[in-house]
Every structure is written in structure tokens, then in C-alpha cells.
């Protein structure tokens, strides 16, 4: 089969298309949604997750180390069961603490993960024992007012 300029143009077109996809993938997007082979899953139970959403980042020392995979309601414990997808590169001790934090005053919520002192590391399927729920603004204000009133009486 002879080669023609038509083939050349089609080649250019396909190369441009694939190039565009690559640009989008590398320059614009990030591959952070870890697929099964690069991540392991651990669970954590929270009393209140506030406004946490699936795919929210999990940060340790401010660096993204994973993403929230699923959020479910555990009907036995009446708590929220959150599944974390953690990057296989990073290991955390068994007594790590997971807390739900807010970036800025009104920003999105994320999970902060602080490693503990134990030598044993979290494995896939483990549950993080120490959790700190989201701060709910209304509750905080309520508590503040209650405390103020209490301290006033004692005076």
C-alpha cells in the first residue's frame, strides 16, 4: 500500500488527539484517585463527620496521602463509618489519630492523619481507633454559652 499525504494528515490528527489527552492527564489533571493497586484501605468511625464528602483529601502534615473512598452510616454503633484510600507509599502506626478538619474558616473539610508512637503499622482492613469528629459550629457556640453561664454562677 502506498503512503499518501492523506495518511500523513490522519497521522498528525491522531497524534494531536493523543497529545491533547496526555496534556490533559499530565498538566491539567492529577492521578491522585488511587486505584486498588497503589492504595490500601483502612476504616475509621466518627461520631460526626460534619460536611465531609467522598473524595475529600486525607492529609498528614499538610501533604495529601490519600482520599476518602466511602462514607456509610453504621446502624449498630450509630456512628459514621469512613473508608480511607491511603497511598501504599506511606505507612502509619496503629495508634494514629484521624480528625476531621476544615481548611480555613469556611473551606472544604478534610481528614487530618497524625501518626502515633506504636511500632505496628496499619494494614489494609484495619480500623483506626482514635478519631476526632468534625467541629460543628452550632455545638461549639452552644458549649461556649453554657460555660459562660456556668462560670458566671460560680462567681
Amino acid at each position: 500500500m502506498e503512503r499518501t499525504t492523506l495518511d500523513l494528515w490522519v497521522g498528525i490528527f491522531i497524534a494531536a488527539g493523543i497529545g491533547a489527552i496526555l496534556v490533559l492527564a499530565l498538566k491539567v489533571g492529577n492521578m491522585s484517585s488511587l486505584d486498588g493497586s497503589n492504595s490500601y484501605q483502612v476504616y475509621a468511625y466518627f461520631d460526626n463527620i460534619g460536611g465531609l464528602k467522598p473524595r475529600a483529601p486525607i492529609k498528614s502534615a499538610g501533604v495529601v496521602v490519600g482520599r476518602v473512598a466511602r462514607i456509610e452510616f453504621d446502624a449498630k454503633q450509630y456512628r459514621a463509618k469512613v473508608t480511607f484510600d491511603l497511598d501504599r507509599k506511606y505507612q502509619f502506626s496503629k495508634d494514629s489519630t484521624a480528625s476531621i478538619l476544615t481548611s480555613g474558616l469556611l473551606g472544604e473539610q478534610y481528614v487530618g492523619l497524625e501518626t502515633g508512637a506504636e511500632d505496628d503499622m496499619l494494614k489494609a482492613g484495619d480500623t483506626i481507633q482514635f478519631t476526632q469528629s468534625a467541629v460543628v459550629l452550632e455545638k461549639l457556640i452552644g458549649q461556649l454559652m453554657f460555660n459562660k453561664a456556668g462560670s458566671g454562677n460560680h462567681k
Binding site: 492523506l6 498528525i12 491522531i14 493523543i18 490533559l24 489533571g29
Partner: protein, 264 residues
Amino acid sequence: MLDRLANWLRKIGHSAIEGIWRLGYAGKFMLLTLLGSGSSFTRIGLVVRELYYTGVRSLVIIIVSGLFVGMVLGLQGYETLQRYGASSSLGVMVALALVRELGPVVAALLFASRAGSAITAEIGLMKATEQLSAMEMMAVDPISRVVAPRFWSGVISMPLLAAIFNAMGIFGGYLIGVVLIGLDEGSYWSQTHAGVDFRYDILNGIIKSFVFGIAVSAIAVFEGYDSPPTAEGVSGATTRTVVTSSLVILFLDFILTSFMFRGV
């Protein structure tokens, strides 16, 4: 009065049956196209030739429109975002809008009116001038020789065109945001990079454009093959291709979006 009502009902019923008939015929035609696709892959030259007409010939309009859509998004987005002091998020906004929605949808609409109509007109004219009949008499199946390569070239070009559209649009947004308005280039890109997920946003966008490609190509080849073999017939079929494709694209977009991006 009653007569007129009965007549009216009869007309509606008639066109409903006609529509279902046509749908069945279209389904049968698609099946034949898929069954006749073997030669499109064994003789790749046939598809390459059509890729030139559907893909390469659509490049200019895709590149130019992508650039302008991106620049408009940049201007409008900046206008709104800066009110909330979030102008550094311009990159994310432009990229997400393009990758998730505007890229696949606008590229598909352009593709339908540029390449889809051309496919319909070409097949329709081949039918009107008895070229398809002649092919059949030469023991060559027109569905596998003419229809299938055009269908597959459309299916292949659409995601590529949408990706090019997206890349051009993001470049257009960059031109406005960074070059014209003077946002910080580093934070523009890093925000974009952090905010756009490959699998969730980009891959879903590519899947969308792939689905649109199948829909537009199928409609275009069917309308062409089904067009009455007259001048009015072919022109009517060409118009129908553009109208039906556009509606189907928007409808499918709604369905796909509600599946892909459900309140997460």
C-alpha cells in the same frame, strides 16, 4: 368535530407507529453495520481515509472554537470569581467546565454539524446516484464498504477532537487568566492540577465524548442510508442529522452527567 378529532388521533397514532417502525429499522441497520465492520479493521486504509474527512477536516473548527470558548470562560469566570476573592481558582473553573461538560458537548455539536452532515450527504448522494446499488450488484456489501468505515472513523475521531478542544480551551483560559489579566502562573497551574482529577473528571469526559461519537456517527450514517434518493431527500436527511444529533447529544449528556457526577 368528532370527525376531526378522530382524524387527529389517527394521525398521531400513524406517526407513532411510523416512528417505532423507523426505530426498529435503525436498530437492524446498526446491527448490520456492526456485523459488517470486519473489513473496517482488516482493511484499515478504509477507516484512515474516512478519518481524514471526519477528523482532519474538523480540526480547524474544533481548534478555533476551543480557543474562543476557553477565552470566554476565562473572562467570565474571572469576572465572577474575583468578587469572592477566589480569582486564583480560575484555572480549576475553566478546566473543570471544559473537561466535564463543554469540551465533550460543544465538540460533539460541532462534529455533528461539520462531519455528521457531510457523512449523511455523502451516503445520501451515493444512494441517489445509484452508487450503492452498483456496489451491491458488484457483489460488494455497501454497508461494510461504505457505512461501517464512516461509522468507525466518527467513533474514533470524536474523543480525539474533544481532547483537542479541551486542550485548546484550557490554553485559551490560560491566555486570558495569566497573560492578559496577570494572575500568577504558578498558582494558576497548581490549583488546576490539584482540582482536576484524571479519572474522575478527565476520563469521564472522554467517556462522554466517546458515547457522543457513537451516537452522532450512528445517526449520520443511518440518515444517509435511509434518505430518499432525491435532492430534497438528501438535504432533508442532512438537516435531520444535525437536529437529531444535537438533541441526542444534550439528552445523553444529561443522562451521563447524572450518572457520573452525582452530588459528590
